[in-house]
């Protein structure tokens, strides 16, 4: 009888365990049987930033009516890719799409053993993954310009491509492993009614007492570090001697990536000052607070700036964007394939590369850009639709009087197309507004610097600096707090003692 009871309990236990496992990992349990049925199906696990691809479902009125034809996002980009891939290659691809919040989150997810085939981190995380030998290089076929389906290599802006080719890590250029997706620079979104353009054009605005408690800053150590270096080295970076040096670009990048002890100490002091002067460090509220007028200026990425300015325009609340004189941080998000996911599966790698290419086709680039507000690295090559889209967005109406010419040749012109011009005639204020955020001027780009991936020692020093800034130091606890705490503690102890004594008496 006892034995039987035990058996039953064991049976019940096993049932529960199976149910639990099934709830936890339904895919694993189910896959065991469904694997053999469909042979020609590839599963592609993609992990991208949140809200970073067109999910479709546009209204009719959202249609982008270019001269060359209408563009509208009906289905999500992922569905469209699946159909396109089946039509072109005859293979059903199942995209498992997930998202991440920060580069660090993604890295932690990978360390914990999550497997993805294709991910889209920022440039410094790409460098880190490259250094750790976790990436699969892009295949030679991906760079074959004769294949018309290779939209990436045929469409990527030469300006961006040269950056990907000229920056090396451990002797290998980025372009071997990474294909760009979106890019941008950092700057200041400001309310021109409250902040002068001159003030907004320096990183020193962050601790400017004239804007006491009116500015929000990104709550993120790398962005804060860059801005602080720009501010503490402001004099050097804007000196004539420095600007006119033939090695300006090289020197600029060296200065902006300086992690010497003195610089870190200066940055810490500066950021402490900023913390006491600014509205706050923000993770998510910056855009909304700019639009509602809670703050007068906000440190922002150019892609977010486009969105913020658009939102504010809807309320007839004009905002502007400025790129500080000292330097601006050019950043990229790019597609890379992971060794742990691809695992030398050629079909998978082909699908992953096709996914990049599909997202680089001009109409899809426009859909993504329109949906998320960021700027694609694709200029379109022979396909002029992306430039046409920029003109459609920002070009002046015919009856507009006050217009300026805005030259985007640096981004759009190709080696082969001499004579073609890429000039947008835009309303004059666009020179400081959305157009400037979406495609910064060549002049602003001249002071753009990449922020490298710091090594472990540097990262640790910078993180420590950041914690020093953000934490309340125990030495700062005022004396009266200690006294109050001691009195409170004394009362508690004495009450406890009295209780104990009373108990003993009774």
């Amino acid at each position: 009888m006892r034995v039987e009871k035990k058996k039953k309990a064991a049976l019940y236990f096993a049932l529960c365990a199976i149910l639990f496992l099934f709830l936890l990992f339904p895919e694993t349990v189910l896959r065991a049987e469904s694997d053999e049925k469909e042979e020609r199906q590839v599963t592609l696990r993609v992990c991208n930033w949140e809200e970073y691809i067109d999910l479709g479902g546009w209204d009719e009125e959202d249609t982008i009516d270019l001269d060359s034809g209408d563009i509208i996002g009906v289905n999500s980009m992922i569905e469209d890719f699946t159909d396109w891939y089946y039509e072109n290659y005859g293979i059903r691809v199942k995209v498992e799409y997930s998202t991440f919040g920060t580069n660090e989150d993604l890295y932690n997810m990978l360390t914990l053993g999550d497997t993805y085939d294709l991910v889209c981190p920022s440039e410094y995380m790409i460098m880190k993954l490259m250094t750790e030998d976790r990436l699969v290089p892009l295949s030679d076929d991906f760079f074959d310009v004769s294949d018309k389906n290779n939209y990436y290599i045929n469409g990527v802006s030469p300006y961006i491509h040269s950056i990907f080719e000229n920056n090396e890590i451990q002797g290998k250029p980025w372009s071997d492993y990474a294909a760009g997706y979106m890019w941008g620079i950092t700057g200041i979104v400001y309310n021109p009614a409250l902040v002068s353009t001159e003030d907004a054009s320096s990183w020193k605005i962050l601790n400017n007492p004239a804007y006491y408690r009116q500015i929000t800053i990104k709550d993120n150590v790398r962005d804060s570090y860059f801005a602080a270096v720009g501010a503490v080295k402001s004099e050097l970076l804007t000196s004539r001697e420095f600007l006119e040096s033939p090695d300006y670009q090289k020197n600029l990048e060296r200065e902006m990536n300086d992690t010497s002890e003195e610089t870190i100490a200066e940055v810490q002091e500066y950021l402490q000052d900023v913390k006491n002067n600014a509205y706050s460090f923000e993770t998510d509220s910056g855009k909304a607070d700019m639009v509602t007028g809670k703050v007068a200026a906000n440190y922002q990425w150019s892609g977010d700036s486009v969105y913020t300015l658009d939102q504010a325009d809807e309320d007839d609340f004009p905002l502007s964007f400025a790129v500080p004189e000292e330097s601006t941080n050019i950043y990229f998000d790019g597609w890379v394939m992971l060794k742990s996911g691809i695992d030398s599966d050629e079909a998978k790698q082909h699908a992953a590369e096709a996914f990049i290419n599909f997202n680089s086709r001009a109409d899809n680039v426009i859909r993504n850009m329109n949906y998320i507000g960021y700027t694609s690295v694709i200029s379109g090559g022979e396909d002029r639709r992306i430039f046409e889209y920029a003109d459609w967005c920002y070009g002046a109406e015919e009856d507009e009087r006050d217009t300026s010419d805005y030259d985007l040749g640096y981004f759009f012109s190709e080696d082969g197309d001499d004579g073609k011009e890429y000039i947008i005639t835009a309303p004059s204020d666009q020179v400081y507004r959305q157009l400037f955020s979406q495609y910064p001027s060549e002049e602003a780009m001249s002071r753009a610097a990449l922020m490298v991936c710091f090594d472990e020692e540097q990262t640790q020093a910078i993180n420590q600096m950041w914690i020093n800034v953000r934490c309340y130091n125990i030495h700062d606890v005022p004396v009266w707090v200690w006294i109050v705490a001691a009195i409170g503690f004394g009362i508690l102890i004495s009450a406890g003692c009295r209780k104990a004594l009373e108990k003993r008496k009774s």
Binding site: A9, C16, E104, S280, C471, I474
Partner: protein
Amino acid sequence: MYKNIFSRKSLGIPYLLFLLLFVLLPLFVLIYYAFTNGQGEFTVLNLTGFFTDPNTLGTLCYSFGIAAVTTVVCLLLAYPAAYILAISKLPAKSIIIMLFVMPMWINFSLRITALKEILTWMEGRLAYHPFFNTVLGMSYDFLPFMILPIYTTISKLDGALLEAARDLGAGELQAFLKVTLPLSLPGILSGVSMVFLPAMTNYVVLDMLYNSTYIMGSLIGSYFAAYNWNGGSMIALILLGIVCLFTLMTRGIEEENTRGGALL
């Protein structure tokens, strides 16, 4: 044959599995990380580091301060309200209690966002008073957790005891101080532990109300963002230790008190 399969003991098995998978296992992982370094070797440096770093200690103090002030504010607001409610003979009592609990049914971040707008309207720039705003936000969030246990203990209080106190000559105030207050102590203590402990780590309120100083929760987050899982785990473990200590202490007082109550 299957009559005994749902015996009382085996009904506990689903929870046992849950406990093993989601409580004990993570705890062991936490302890493992807390006492190892990046290479997986045993170390106590994380522990000693915590108690020698002015930043972590300062953050502990700051969190403690926020939690203590929040608890006091909640207690001062909640006790009179709960007391009046419990002794009153209002017919609409249950509706008033529902009004107190209702905020808990509304999404937390929505409530704090609303509070943010109200405070902005009142103060202008929120950033001038980060500590005050944080305490206000947390009190707003945790108040129901203080009211409910106090209300329950007071309303369950034996009226005969109060009558006895009056018969023996105690005035209104004296009866309250000598009978009601000591007997409602268990309610106060469970309220305090439900407010104090979450207030030490709830960094979402700080973020949303523009307080740029870290509390324990945000400090752990920053360690993980810097890939320092070991240091972060150690802070979490120490917090767990503080929580355990606190619970043991309050339970000690509570037990003593109920024993005293039985004697009375």
